[in-house]
Symmetry: C2
Subunit: 349 residues, 2 copies
DNA sequence: CGCCCCCACTGTAGCGCTATAGAAACCGCT
DNA sequence: AGCGGTTTCTATAGCGCTACAGTGGGGGCG
């Protein structure tokens, strides 16, 4: 059941049948009608996408590499918003999005073996196998929340500035000891240097260190929520506990609030908690979360648009153009932060 | 830069180079090493996936059709868990997952034009264009949370039984008037007849009607959370308000709890609220949500496994086999339900 | 009436790879 | 030496489609 089958049945060339499906302006309406009718009658669903892909050199799909695992990328509601924005922007160009598992099964490796027109690389270890394969294929690529690379199209968020604003807010209201809740451990400092998390940590320190605020860093597993809870519990049980907590994400902050409350601490009276992202969740914690807003939708939309453009550019043979977008952040003060309990006078503004 | 380029450079046939990449056992280790070395030197990344797809007849990708829109499918945390399970199960077979926008742009229609080995159809209107295109392509298909179709491989959840258990629980503790919070309006009763939502509504009625419990149904927009909030507000403001609320999902239930609390009602003392799904959220509402658990991971895993099997069967030419899985549900009683306020004695068990 | 242009359609040559069958070399054994 | 059996590599023929460069005929225009 191919184009040719239909062509013979109608008595035209296969090229004409191809045109009936793919370039309607190339034949008369009457003939097109007839061809489509015969195709429907034969149960021919349209040109085989695989063959079309080979002949045209375009697949209609772009990939997204989420590392270290899809599970991790999805656990946060925030990621869902980002993905939705990407799919919607891509849909405008008729492109579908393929989720690429970062590792293959040995024989099959999606990042190497799946046909696609380009890919988005999201928050992904730079040394991931998948990333290297994508590069080797010379696909148009857009990096999102990746360490800066002058040669790569990128969409990033001004994490450092957001973190700085959040930390400054705590310093301003008088906190003198702040816990920093981060995930995972990046043992390779070179790689970590410009990762999202490193940027946020840097931002926090940028504001806290000059103000002479003491910091205690707590690293929790990126995969295991309970591990994070345990870490916070331990931190809060210490005799010399911080009066505020800066968290890597809203999800972590929400969990921290629960732990604090279970430990009998009031938020924000005994402990201030700050999140990051302003995910939908942040509005609904009790108390509502002070956090740093970033626009996940814009991030997704811009990343997708940049990729679409890069793909178009490649197709037309235009010179590739590298763009770097940095999105702003904004501190959103809600009710999870207040001055520290044994209220020293606020460090003068 | 093709297989042939590499072949000429090494001085072997292109078939041998192909084997070096795809069937290592077909040539000597030494030659393979040499070929791979030359390929790396030339910057050849491996066989072109598009061409390979055409020649082999397999793409390494399966699609998922989420309707009416990806946005809707993603808004619920629950969907994320389901998708993660699918991707992980597919990854075991080296397959990637492509998110298919249900509508194309006119010229490009992913459900018709994207190459894939099969597809999962999830919670999707039966009359969706995308669905029809997939059927026409005769792809192996697995239906999830779709109305029953004897000819289609399906994975479903026993929604009716779960709903029945939830409603029975309310009847048992003495509620005599229950609100039913659903989303959207399925105006075509034939189609709605066996949809997930219709099943749940049926289950609710199965338990409530015989017990003589009065019901008030409230339909909220599937897209707009605020609309749902308004509907609940109106319901609770009525002079003769229900003493309990059965909700289509945990997300809706959580929103309803907030609305009730804003209206000065205590949950569960003034109003009992029941969710559906037992999404992670349900544990963290205040009070924790009584809900009906379904196993999203199992649903995703089984759907993916069924699809992988159907694809394998088609490839080997075995006769297709239609399977229908129905997963159980389980009532999880937490703190969002209690006996109604003007405590009549519980309707005897 | 003749010229040219445009429309509607066709023929061919790939796109880059792999399946398949088969040739060549090599092995151990009688 | 001769033989089947294996291993290693090669030549060919597609996979199903589309780009591109035609061909021919009909119509507009001078």
């Amino acid at each position: 059941m191919t184009l040719k089958t239909v062509a013979e049945r109608v008595g035209v060339s296969s090229m004409t049948v191809s045109n009936a499906f793919s370039r309607p302006d190339q034949l008369s309406a009457a003939l097109r009608e007839k061809i489509l009718a015969v195709a429907a009658e034969l149960g021919y669903a349209g040109p085989d996408p695989a063959a079309r892909t080979l002949a045209r050199g375009a697949t209609g799909t772009v990939g997204i590499l989420l590392s270290p695992s899809l599970r991790y990328a999805f656990t946060d509601e925030f990621a869902a918003v980002f993905l939705i924005a990407i799919t919607e922007e891509l849909a405008r160009s008729g492109l579908a999005l393929t989720l690429l598992p970062p590792e293959g099964t040995g024989t099959v490796v999606p990042t190497r073996d799946v046909a696609m027109d380009g890919a988005i690389v999201y928050s992904c270890r730079l040394d991931a196998d998948g990333l290297e394969q994508l590069h080797r294929r010379q696909l148009p690529l857009v990096h999102v929340d990746q360490p800066y690379d002058a040669d790569a199209i990128s969409v990033n968020v001004d994490d450092a500035a957001g973190a700085r604003a959040a930390a400054q807010h705590l310093a301003d209201v008088g906190h003198r000891h702040v816990g920093l809740l981060v995930v995972g451990h990046d043992d390779d400092p070179a790689r970590a240097e410009r990762s999202t998390q490193a940027e946020r940590i840097r931002g926090w320190h940028d504001a806290l260190d000059p103000a002479g605020v003491r910091t205690t860093i707590v690293a929790a597993s990126a995969y295991d929520e309970d591990d994070g809870a345990d870490a916070v519990r331990a931190l809060l049980a210490a005799p010399d506990r911080p009066t505020a907590l800066l968290c890597f994400s809203d999800a972590r902050a929400a969990a921290a609030i629960r732990v604090a409350q279970e430990a009998g601490l009031s938020v924000p009276d005994d402990l201030s908690v700050v999140g990051f992202d302003d995910s939908p969740l942040a509005r609904h914690t009790d108390p509502p979360l002070t956090t740093v807003r970033q626009d996940a939708s814009a991030k997704g939309r811009l990343a997708a648009a940049a990729l679409v453009e890069a793909i178009a550019r490649r197709r037309t043979g235009a010179t590739p153009e590298v763009s770097h977008v940095v999105l702003p952040t904004e501190l959103v003060v809600r009710q999870s932060t207040a001055k520290p309990p044994a209220a020293k006078p606020p460090a003068g503004r």
